[in-house]
């Protein structure tokens, strides 16, 4: 009924959505959407390095994004520049350097659009293994650091005072962010990964009254976005990333109706 590549894309997308759901909630709660942007923009540099040295893209992106994240934490400690300026600096300079390096790699055939916006034709069986194993690992680690990470998201000092070691949880979470970007880059494209993280989570916030529900709805929202997005991508021959994100936007708009209802109830 469907071509193999489409089945592969669907399996890959479902794997990605299962992970972006819970991670995306933390991105929204901890106000990290610009941080996500910075990491995903720096992923381009990771991709070019992968091509230059014939490395695996996911591994290379993961390493480069992790290094950029650690570099950012150092810069935050050592300079007085506000956080958003530092994020912008790293995001755009790593994107620019990545594009310049691509210019030098003229001998390689490069699908820039696929890189920026995702390409379902590009998902291989190898990618599926990386997405599902990597994704399972990310979720497992997230479950292990859930308590300190969540407690310090609510109140850092409470978590620290009551012995939960929030700094370690934060550092591990940063690495998980780099990892999800690395495994989802082929599906969603590096310009739109943050959208995959925050839009389903924002949609979930509109219809949840507790954190567990928000995580659950965020996962469901992500899954629906991937499935609807991929089918329309096939139908209308559009890029997979934008199709998925547009689907999630539609879900978000629908969730606003629920908010409107509850506001009317209050009045």
């Amino acid at each position: 009924m469907f071509d193999d590549f489409f089945i592969r894309a669907l399996i890959a997308g479902i794997g990605v959505a299962l992970v972006t759901g819970p991670l995306g909630c933390f991105v929204v709660w901890r106000r990290l959407s610009y941080f996500g942007d910075t990491l995903s923009h720096s992923a381009l540099l990771g991709v070019t390095i992968a091509y230059s040295f014939e490395l695996n893209i996911a591994v290379s992106v993961f390493l480069v994004s992790s290094i950029i994240a650690l570099f950012l934490i150092q810069l935050q400690k050592k300079t007085n520049l506000p956080g958003d300026a530092l994020l912008g600096l790293l995001a755009h300079s790593s994107l620019a350097v990545g594009l310049v390096v691509i210019g030098f790699l003229a001998f390689i055939r490069f699908d820039i659009m696929g890189l920026l916006f995702g390409d379902i034709l590009a998902v291989t069986v190898n990618d599926l293994i990386i997405i599902w194993f990597g994704g399972a690992l990310i979720l497992l680690v997230l479950k292990l650091i859930w308590k300190p990470l969540f407690a310090s998201t609510v109140n850092y000092e409470l978590a620290e005072a009551e012995g939960l070691n929030p700094d370690r949880a934060k550092a591990i979470f940063t690495i998980l962010m780099a990892a999800i970007i690395a495994i989802s880059i082929k599906m969603v494209g590096l310009l739109l990964i943050t959208g995959m993280l925050i839009i389903p989570a924002a949609m979930a916030r509109n219809i949840s009254d507790n954190p567990q529900k928000m995580v659950l709805f965020s996962v469901i929202g992500g899954l629906l976005s991937v499935i609807i997005g991929l089918f329309s991508s096939l139908e209308f021959n559009t890029a997979s990333g934008p199709s998925i994100i547009t689907a999630s936007l539609v879900l978000f708009i629908l969730s606003l109706l629920k908010i409107k209802q509850s506001i009317q109830l209050k009045n």
């Binding site: 969540f150 409470l158 005072a161 916030r205």
Partner: protein, 248 residues
């Protein structure tokens, strides 16, 4: 002060500075099992800072902190919950420790807010939120309880009731309590030791038994005078508005 087996936390001449400004300096105090230490002082005198040093939240400090327990309950001075995070009282109660439902209900009943269990934290009044904060801190049966202005925003009758509760917790759990009071002159009668701060320790001592003083009794009322005490400051120096210290 020699430490003994009952010591839970001991500050030795500690200080903390931020951007070249000392928030607090030269503070020594000790909290023991079953004892209540109250910190008082004007705004910005370093009460919360001292508490955070004792809790290990501030790490780059001068002096030494000896801590003999990991079972800590903390009520911060200010907790703001962002709208983006949907959180019910019930979710908040298990924030740092997994508790059975019974333990949650028991703690919430003690502070009189068990009916709010499924309410969203953002919809509580200031006084209700304070009671939830206190319930959360005591629910895990800590050995050391650090309460930063735990009765702020609570009406006077409620304040007396909460102080009674804190006394009861101290007796039942035999935990040590470091209490920061928002009032300069009245402290809990059950307080064993009062430390008055203003960037450093200005004076310290025990509160006066109000219940024995007829005038205070008339002022506070019969029940309140059992719970509250007056602390008479004995400073040997004054602070000018520039922050200089002059000896009397």
């Amino acid at each position: 002060m020699g430490s003994n087996n009952n010591t839970l936390v001991k500050l030795k001449n500690v200080g903390y500075h931020q951007n070249d400004k000392w928030l607090v300096k030269g503070v020594s105090l000790e909290v023991e099992k079953g004892k209540i230490v109250t910190l008082i002082g004007p705004n910005g005198s370093g009460k919360s800072t001292t508490a955070k040093i004792a809790l290990g939240i501030y790490k780059k400090i001068e002096g030494e902190v000896e801590k003999y327990t990991n079972k800590v309950g903390y009520v911060p001075q200010k907790v703001s919950i962002d709208w983006t995070l949907p959180l019910r009282v019930n979710d908040f109660m298990v924030l740092t420790e997994n508790l059975k439902d019974d333990a949650i209900n028991e703690a919430l009943s003690l502070t009189g807010v068990v009916h709010l269990k499924n309410k969203n934290l953002g919809n509580l009044s200031g006084g209700e939120f304070q009671r939830v904060l206190l319930a959360r801190a005591i629910s895990k049966k800590p050995e050391l309880l650090v309460l930063d202005e735990p009765v702020q925003g609570v009406d006077f009758t409620g304040e007396i009731a909460l102080y009674e509760l804190i006394k009861k917790i101290s007796d039942e759990l035999n935990c040590g309590i470091l209490l920061i009071s928002h009032d300069l002159h009245t402290v809990m009668s059950a307080t064993d030791h009062v430390v008055c701060l203003n960037g450093h320790v200005c004076c310290s001592g025990s509160p006066i038994d109000v219940a024995k003083n007829m005038e205070y009794k008339a002022l506070f009322g019969e029940q309140a005078s059992q719970i509250l005490s007056v602390y008479e400051h004995r400073h040997d120096h004054v602070h000018s508005s520039e922050g200089d210290i002059k000896k009397n």
